[in-house]
Symmetry: C2
Subunit: 401 residues, 2 copies
Amino acid sequence: MAVNPTMIKIDYKRELESASKGMIMIHDPKLLIKLIVRMIVRKLRIKHAAMILYESDNNRYVLNISRGEAGHRIPVGFTKFSTDSPLIKLFVEKQFKPLIEGRNAIVMDDINRIIWRENVVDNSTGGDIKELLHKVNQQMDSLNSIACVPAFYQDDLMAVLLLGQKHDETKFDQEELNFFAALASDAAMAIRNAQLFNDLSREAKRNRELFIQTILVLSSTIEAKDTYTHGHTERVTNYSVAIARQMVANGSAEFDKDFFENIYISGLLHDIGKIAVPEKILNKTGRLTDEEYEIMKGHTLKGADMVRPLNLPQECVDGIRYHHERFDGAGYPDGLTGAEIPITAAIMAVADAYDAMTSSRPYRKGLDKEVAMREIKKNAGTQFNPLPVQAMIELYNQGRV
Amino acid sequence: MAVNPTMIKIDYKRELESASKGMIMIHDPKLLIKLIVRMIVRKLRIKHAAMILYESDNNRYVLNISRGEAGHRIPVGFTKFSTDSPLIKLFVEKQFKPLIEGRNAIVMDDINRIIWRENVVDNSTGGDIKELLHKVNQQMDSLNSIACVPAFYQDDLMAVLLLGQKHDETKFDQEELNFFAALASDAAMAIRNAQLFNDLSREAKRNRELFIQTILVLSSTIEAKDTYTHGHTERVTNYSVAIARQMVANGSAEFDKDFFENIYISGLLHDIGKIAVPEKILNKTGRLTDEEYEIMKGHTLKGADMVRPLNLPQECVDGIRYHHERFDGAGYPDGLTGAEIPITAAIMAVADAYDAMTSSRPYRKGLDKEVAMREIKKNAGTQFNPLPVQAMIELYNQGRV
């Protein structure tokens, strides 16, 4: 088939450039090399292409993508290369640097030419080189490849592109190899960028996990002291998030992602101030004296105070401070009414009351859910904001609380 | 001066390509555009170049870099553009899209041509367009620019490259403008990448801050209950880190970055188990009964237990569990001896003892530092590992504790 060679080259170039273009926005190295290999096989006149990617966790290279004609493809995930593998050694070990320096790629024909040329044994490692090249030759053969293009980021071999024969079975010319090398170089940088991204992303997640778990340890500590409230913190948090979701679902509120984040944190921290309440008050089974009750009520303000160094969003602090306010203004600490009570707190008040009623305590069994729900419904508009109550009723009717 | 134009073009291309190359590894957008503008002015035949960068915090564009001949440069940081600024409107507002579509850049000559062409008033917004272009013209003039190249990432205008006249005062040809556009496009992607990076990095830092602050809240809570230990947690943490640093400085140990991270966390958490010790034991001024002492000692195991859900590195947990072990094996909870005691714990034992001795308590004044140091020195090899003791002595002699 006669094709204008210039046309093909321009196509090469444009395709490769447009492939490189979006690379850095892909933060999954495996996906990245898949897209590259697919593009190469789809757009260029090659029977087969594959790419092996370095896995730092295992210090090895794994063939992650192989595309092309049946019978040319290599089983993916199965083919692994240790850093002792000839193909990897050739690119990575210092003693072989002179061999690959100035080359964009290792091409089968070159290898054969070097193996049979006498003067390669000029230096003391000549024997090693011939032996290694023989092995590389065999490896490339078993991978159906006639050229390998290393993808370096600085001195790190991030990946290797394996290229099968062209459809017309001609050799790759220098311009083609240059393009593959440019592509590999862009890919290496994109892979590095993705790695940095993933590392940072993992760190952010890990730190958040530490934060959340520390709060949970803290709340379980409160619960360990307050023998009545085992698991209370987590249940109130879950109910609160569920009520908020339901309020969005039934159209009574519009909450953004931050709101859910904040009510979650607020739920976990809502009783943190109890840590400052003396154990003898926290664990008293009889009726609290007025003075004791005042100290107990202080956990809302104390809690809001304790989290000040965290610089949490206002919504989080509101939930901690105001979850004992009542819709009719008879609550504490500030006696706010109706819409004055931040919605985080209004939601948590319903969740808190429901859990308090349905949980068993040493001196009394918890109420049936149905009875508790009736109680909550009855107090909508007096104790509770009617909107979260309505959402709670819907959750109950759907069997979700 | 006669220069082979082909040579210049190749130079352009290579310089621009190599500039684009490392862009994505620069995660500071301001530095990034500085490098681009410097390179343009140094390598290419342009009297002046500048770049304005979008600041999302303030929703405005700021001129961050201006390079070139004296008299052509623009004061940096001073020149700010709101999104209402003509130059910005031209690139961002929908109604002007037809004007810039298909153009890589806005060139002064084009603007003049459009302004004086009748058919631009064909549509209803024609008047607006002419008026806007007049203003853009004036703006570019005041910025010493004859061409503006927008840097878009998707639909977001990330930056605008402003180009002054060429040294030979010829117009930019299409190929030159194409290169600038390619450079701007790469820059836009790199800026976006940097933004994502910075956002993630900020998130990781913020989450870590939340974690650390939550631990501090937790330890201050313990201290609030245990009236003797105000500020103890933070002091022990600081002493521990200082001792570890000094051990590296005097060559008695090699600790990596992770170690310092871990001993810091461990120090903050070392007494967390005290939260489970009843207040009446924690606050008892008289001598503890054997039974009470056993409960008190339990804070080491309890603490290690409490932090289990955090999945902290072993070094952190070791410090919590073993900071009351003694070098001679007479400590608790496990009676480990010498090198069996993890070094985190051995360091913290010295820090803990020093702070316990030097802090004042309601029923006795703290010891003089000198007396405390003598006591610690005396117990090196019996109570304490001699290496952290030696480091502590050095810190004391340097007046650092």
